[in-house]
C-alpha cells in the first residue's frame, strides 16, 4: 500500500512522518511512504488541519494519533 503524509511543514507533521518510517523499518508495516508539504494537496482532500494521513489515495485521518500503537492500528485497518 501507499502511505502519504501531507503536512504544512510543522513539527508535528515531521514527527508523524518519522513515526511511519520507523514502523516500516521495524517491519511492522509494508508500504511506500511519501511525505509532502504541498498545502494545495491538503485542500484537494478537504483536510482542515495537518498532518493528513493518506492511504492509497484516501484521507484516513487529520492530526496526530496519540501514540505509535494507535497509528499502527489505523494503518492495519486499511490493509
Amino acid at each position: 500500500m501507499k502511505i502519504k503524509i501531507i503536512g504544512s511543514g510543522c513539527p508535528t507533521c515531521k514527527k508523524l512522518h518519522q513515526m511511519v518510517v520507523k514502523l516500516k523499518e521495524e517491519g511492522k508495516i509494508k508500504a511506500d511512504i511519501e511525505y509532502s508539504t504541498d498545502i494545495n494537496e491538503l485542500i484537494e482532500l478537504g483536510a482542515m488541519g495537518s498532518p493528513a494521513l493518506v492511504i492509497d489515495g484516501k484521507l484516513i485521518s487529520v492530526g496526530m494519533p496519540e501514540n505509535e500503537k494507535k497509528l499502527l492500528e489505523i494503518i492495519k485497518k486499511c490493509e
Partner: protein, 370 residues
C-alpha cells in the same frame, strides 16, 4: 561512518568553531550574555509558572474538548456573511492553537467554505488572539498593550478580510471539510464549564493588582481545584488526552520561545538606543509604518514576538509602533508570505501584505494617541 555520525561530526565542528572564535574576552559580549541570562531569569521567575504553564494547559484543553465542527459550521459556504466574518475573527482562539492548523484551515475556508474574506480574517486573527499570546503579552508588556492587542486584532482582521473580498471577488466551491476528529468527551457541560473557568481564573488573577501573597494563594488553590476536578470528574481517557495535547504544545512552543528570549536578551545591550528612538520612538506615521513593515517581514516563532518587543520597548520604542508591530508581526513573515503565495498567488498575497501593513500602521497611530 553513517549519515547520523556525519551529522554529529558537523555539529561538533560547528560548536567547536563557535567556541574557537567567540569573543568571550570582550566587554560587549560579556554584557550581552549577562543580559540574556537576566531576561531568561526574569521569564522563569515571573512568567513561566503563573502565565505560560496555565496557558499551555488551557490550549491543550481547548484542542481536546472544544468541538471544532461546531465552529466550522459557521464558516461553511452556507452561512451568512456577518456570522462568518465575526466567527472567523475570534475563532483563532479556539481553532488555531497550533501553526499546523492555520494554513490548512485558511485554505479550506477559502476554497470550500465561506470564501476569501472570512478566510483572510481567520488567517490574520488566528495567530494573534490565541490564549497564550494574549496573556503572555499582558504579563510581560503590561495590561494595557495586552488588551489593545486583543481588541485591535478582532476588528482589524474583519476589515482586512472585507477589503480583500472587496478587491478580489472569488467564488467558493462546494464540498465537505474534514476536521481533526474530537472524540466524544462524555463530560457534562457543567464540568467543562467549571474546568475552563478555573483555569482562566488563574490567568486573570495573575494580572490583578493585589498583594503577592494573596495572589499566589488564590492561584495555587485554583490549580489544586483543577487537579481535583480532573481526578474525580474526568474519565481517564479524557485526562490523558488533555495532558498529551498540552505536552504537544509545550514541546513545540517552549524551546523556541526560550531561544527567542535568550536572543532578545542578548541583543538588548547591542541595540543602539539612538536608532530606536529616532525610528520608532515617537508615535508618528513613519514610526508606526517602520514598525509594521519590520513586523511583517520578520519571522517570529509562536510568542517570541513578545521578548523581542520587550527589548525594543526597553530601548525607547513608543507604544503606538509597539502595537503596530504586535499586529503585523505574528500573522506575517517572509517565510509565511512564501507559503501564502503558494495558496493565493502573487498578486493577492502582495495586496494582503500591503493591507496588513497599512491597517496595522493606522491601528498603531490610534493607540499611540490614546
Amino acid at each position: 561512518m553513517e549519515r547520523k555520525d556525519w551529522n554529529m561530526l558537523f555539529w561538533i565542528v560547528l560548536v567547536f568553531g563557535i567556541l574557537y572564535f567567540v569573543p568571550s574576552q570582550t566587554e560587549w559580549f560579556r554584557t550581552s550574555v549577562l543580559s540574556a541570562f537576566d531576561l531568561l531569569h526574569d521569564y522563569a521567575r515571573k512568567h513561566v509558572l503563573t502565565c505560560l504553564v496555565p496557558a499551555l494547559f488551557i490550549a491543550g484543553a481547548v484542542s481536546v474538548f472544544v468541538k471544532k465542527e461546531a465552529v466550522l459550521k459557521y464558516l461553511g459556504h452556507k452561512s451568512k456573511k456577518i456570522v462568518s466574518y465575526s466567527i472567523a475573527s475570534v475563532s483563532g482562539a479556539i481553532l488555531a492553537v497550533c501553526s499546523c492548523t492555520i494554513l490548512p484551515l485558511f485554505a479550506g475556508i477559502r476554497k470550500r467554505g465561506a470564501g476569501l474574506g472570512p478566510a483572510i480574517t481567520f488567517l490574520f486573527s488566528g495567530p494573534a488572539i490565541n490564549i497564550a499570546a494574549i496573556f503572555l503579552t499582558a504579563s510581560v508588556l503590561g495590561f494595557k498593550i495586552g488588551l489593545a492587542r486583543t481588541i485591535a486584532s478582532i476588528p482589524l482582521s474583519i476589515i482586512i478580510g472585507l477589503t480583500m473580498a472587496f478587491i478580489f471577488r472569488e467564488k467558493a466551491e462546494q464540498g465537505g471539510l474534514v476536521v481533526q476528529e474530537n472524540k466524544e468527551t462524555k463530560l457534562s457541560k457543567e464540568v467543562l464549564f467549571i474546568f475552563f473557568s478555573l483555569m482562566l481564573a488563574i490567568l486573570v488573577i495573575n494580572g490583578l493588582q493585589i498583594s503577592q501573597l494573596l495572589k499566589y494563594f488564590l492561584m495555587f488553590s485554583f490549580a489544586i481545584a483543577v487537579v481535583l476536578l480532573v481526578i474525580f470528574k474526568f474519565h481517564k481517557e479524557s485526562a490523558k488526552e488533555w495532558l498529551h495535547e498540552t505536552w504537544n504544545f509545550s514541546e513545540n512552543i517552549l524551546p523556541l520561545l526560550f531561544i527567542g528570549v535568550f536572543i532578545a536578551g542578548f541583543l538588548m545591550p547591542l541595540i543602539p538606543q539612538n536608532l530606536i528612538e529616532k525610528l520608532v520612538g515617537k508615535n508618528n506615521l513613519l514610526g508606526n509604518l517602520i514598525a509594521s513593515i519590520f513586523g511583517a517581514l520578520m519571522y517570529f516563532s509562536t510568542l517570541t514576538e513578545i521578548p523581542i518587543l520587550q527589548a525594543l520597548i526597553a530601548k525607547g520604542m513608543a507604544s503606538g509602533p509597539a502595537l503596530a508591530l504586535l499586529l503585523s508581526g505574528p500573522s506575517l513573515s517572509l517565510p509565511s508570505m512564501l507559503v501564502i503565495r503558494k495558496v493565493l498567488g502573487t498578486k493577492k498575497t502582495a495586496v494582503y501584505v500591503l493591507i496588513v501593513i497599512i491597517y496595522s500602521t493606522i491601528a498603531g497611530l490610534i493607540f499611540g494617541l490614546l
